[in-house]
Structure formats: C-alpha cells, structure tokens
Symmetry: C2
C-alpha cells in the first residue's frame, strides 16, 4: 500500500470479510476496518453522485478521475465497476462509464421492486424478531427527530430511506436487504438528480408513523395497503418532477 487517505465507511461490504470478523472468541467486540483503496474510491464516487455533484449522464473519464483522486487508472477502474454493478452508473463498451440517467421506466421498475421487497418485510412483521421490529421503531424515531431538528436535506433523505430499509430488514434475510440497498441507492440517485437545484424534502413522518401504528396493532394487511399507497405516491412525485427537466 502506498498511501492512506480519509477512511470512509460503506453500507455494503461487497462480499468481503476479514478474518478478524469471523471468530467469536474471548475478544468478540474487537474489529478493525481494512478499507482498500478501491473501496474508498467507490465511496467517494457514490458520495459525489448522491450529493448531486455529478449530473446524470456525465461521463466519468478514467484518466482525469484517477488523477483527481490520486489513484492509478486500474484501481479507479475497479471502483467504477462497483458503481456499475450497483446500477449507479452504466458502461457502454469502448465508450466508458457515465452516471446513470434515471428515466421513467427505471423509476417505475425501482418502485415496483421496492414495493415487492418492503411489502414482504411488512407481511413478515408478526414472525419477525423483536430485534428487527425494534430497528424499524428506531429508524422512524430518528427520522422524526431529524425532522423536528430541521436537519439538512441530505440527512432527512437518508433517514427516510433508512426507514424503508428497516422494513425489508423484517424479512431477516441478508440477501433481500442487500437487494433493497441496491434499489434504494438507485432511488437516491434519482432523488439527487431531481433535487439538484432546489432540494425540498417534505415531512413524511405522519405517513410512516401511521404505518408503524398499523403494524403495532397487528393490522398487517392495513399496513401493506398503506405502504403500497405511500410508495405509489412517491413514484408519482418522482415521475412528475422528472418530467419537467
């Protein structure tokens, strides 16, 4: 390794595991973060995309980016491959990678996919572990707190999506959660592109609070329909704002 830069933490460890994390001996609480350069590159690119710094469709030139990030072209390439695999960028052979461009079709598809995943989570509420349920309550509470505190657009957005991820977490399936994370990432990209200029995150605490209340009272079907309505509304809102570009 030649250099160490600012460490970033990624939500998804792409299939990597470290020896230190697999044993459960006397030193269970200890762990060390081995962030590779590729990971840090990918993190930085994701950040830039989510932050709206990179407009959708922008070509990500390899030499320029590598130089700008202070890494070799090969390393940057692996980072780009990660972004492409996550759907945040697209690659056209011999023409390079560019920031994904959310078109109406993909927005609809993302909406459909998350509906399936989140509905599965909601319907699993009665069988879910107390831990998973608690995660939903916590995510909602933190979102409400952020709303009350008048947090930034970025934070509100992230906490809002965290609620939806916690719903998928009710399935207790790591793979389903990973899929949801990927889908949500695409959603974040679309939101970032839409709100590149004016970033107005409206308060949606009420809807989610209502959803959780239905779940707490074991009204799973009611919660499912409430969720469907919420997601449908979100899709419509995005499509509408996407239309006037």
């Amino acid at each position: 390794m030649r250099e160490q830069e600012a460490p970033g933490k990624s939500l998804s460890d792409n299939g990597r595991m470290h020896p230190a994390e697999r044993s459960t001996n006397a030193f269970g609480g200890l762990s060390l973060e081995h962030s590779s350069t590729v990971d840090r590159v990918a993190d930085e690119l994701r950040r830039a995309v989510f932050e709206g710094e990179l407009e959708s469709g922008t070509p990500l030139r390899e030499v320029a980016l590598a130089e700008s990030l202070g890494v070799s072209r090969q390393t940057l390439r692996e980072g780009l491959a990660l972004l492409v695999a996550e759907g945040l960028a697209t690659r056209e052979p011999n023409r390079g990678v560019s920031v994904a461009r959310p078109d109406p079709d993909s927005v609809r598809d993302v909406s459909r996919a998350r509906t399936v995943l989140e509905t599965a989570g909601v319907r699993h509420w009665p069988n879910a572990s107390e831990e998973a349920r608690q995660a939903v309550r916590r995510a909602l509470a933190e979102y409400e707190r952020a709303v009350a505190a008048g947090a930034t657009y970025q934070e509100l957005n992230q906490r809002h999506l965290a609620i939806h991820l916690s719903l998928v977490g009710l399935t207790e399936s790591p793979r389903l959660v990973a899929m949801a994370e990927s889908v949500v990432a695409e959603l974040r990209l679309a939101l970032a592109q839409i709100d590149r200029v004016r970033r107005n995150a409206q308060d949606q605490a009420g809807s989610h609070r209502h959803l959780l209340d239905l779940l707490e009272s074991s009204d799973v079907d009611g919660a499912a329909t409430e969720l469907a309505a919420h997601l449908g509304g979100a899709e419509a809102a995005i499509l509408e704002r996407l239309d006037l570009d």
Copy 2:
C-alpha cells in the same frame, strides 16, 4: 484487443449496453455480441463453478488462473470481481478470492429470498402480460421435454431453474429478475457442490405442472401455497444433503 477466444454467452449483462442494441429501427433482429475479455473470463469461471469442476472453498490464485486462461492478471482480477459481486465467490482482503462455500445459513437465506421473489411473480399472474405468462408455459414445456428425452444432469438443472426464473418474470420487473438470477446462481453453485460426485436430478415436472394448472385456473392463492411447499421441500433436500459432507 490481442486475442479472441471461444465466445460465451452470459445470462446477465452487467450494466453494459451497446449502441447496436438500443435502437429499434428497420433492422430490429440484428445484433452483434461484443464480448469483452473480462466477460469471457467470468463466463468461463461461472461454467467451471456450476460444472462442479471447482470445489467450494478452492482458492482462485490470480497468477495461476491468469496464466491458465491466457489473460493478464488485471483482466482476470476484474472477472473475479464479477464473480464476487454475484455471490459465487468470496474475497478476503489480502488473502484472495475463493469459491463460495454454501453453508446452511446461506442456503436458508437464498431459499427465503427466492420465495419472496417467486411468490411475488405468482401473485402477479393475473396482471401479467400474456408474453410473460407464455414464457412460463414455454419454460415448463421445455423442462418436460428435457425430462422425457433423458437430458443430462446439467441441462435438467438449468431448465428447472429457468422455470423458477420465468415465475419471477411475471412481475415484469427487470430488477427483480436480475436479483432472482443472482440468487438462482447461488443456488446452482450449491447444487453443483452437493452433486459433485453423484448427480441425480429427480423428475419434478409434476409439481410444476400442478403449479401452472393452478395459475391457469386463476387460483393464485393455491399456486402460492403450492410454490411455498415446493421451495420448502427443495431447501430441506439441499440442507439434508449438505449435512453429510
């Protein structure tokens, strides 16, 4: 490009699109496969894994593999990254990539994930396009034909899984199908490992035929429970055989 080897076709194009594929002009039926070296490397690795040539846990040494495939280490590395992203291999920092090892937990998780995805497809049958429904009928018919013809273990396996993929196709969501493909790939890996020695694919045409009959008669709920039972059985069978290794 320095060399061209035997072309292989991959089911999933990882975010790549080529100009020749996106337009629908007078020459709609024409297309050209621009398979990059990396794609061919990944294809070959997948084949070897599915074929059972590589036992799970086998370390995939970069220099040796690159030499054996006649590609550079960088290129091989990108191919390995694809496998890792698909869950067919795992990477441990500074220790390299090795063929994924299907443990009971991951088998259960894969089963849960595919249950969610395929159930969503089945429940979408009434709203699905005629094209999607036809794909299910076709997949089943081809499986039955393969069974009758006494096809190889490999072909039977693939056609069987194709049926399940076609069920997810009923959702008409490319992303959900892509997720299902990834999950099914992991399943294929598990099956390949289990049946590495004795490869006995039992005839499961009856169960699937019954499922389709229920769908054709619009008994979606019945089909969903039938599917759940089928998947539960498959999971149990795999776990049982996985136990005695």
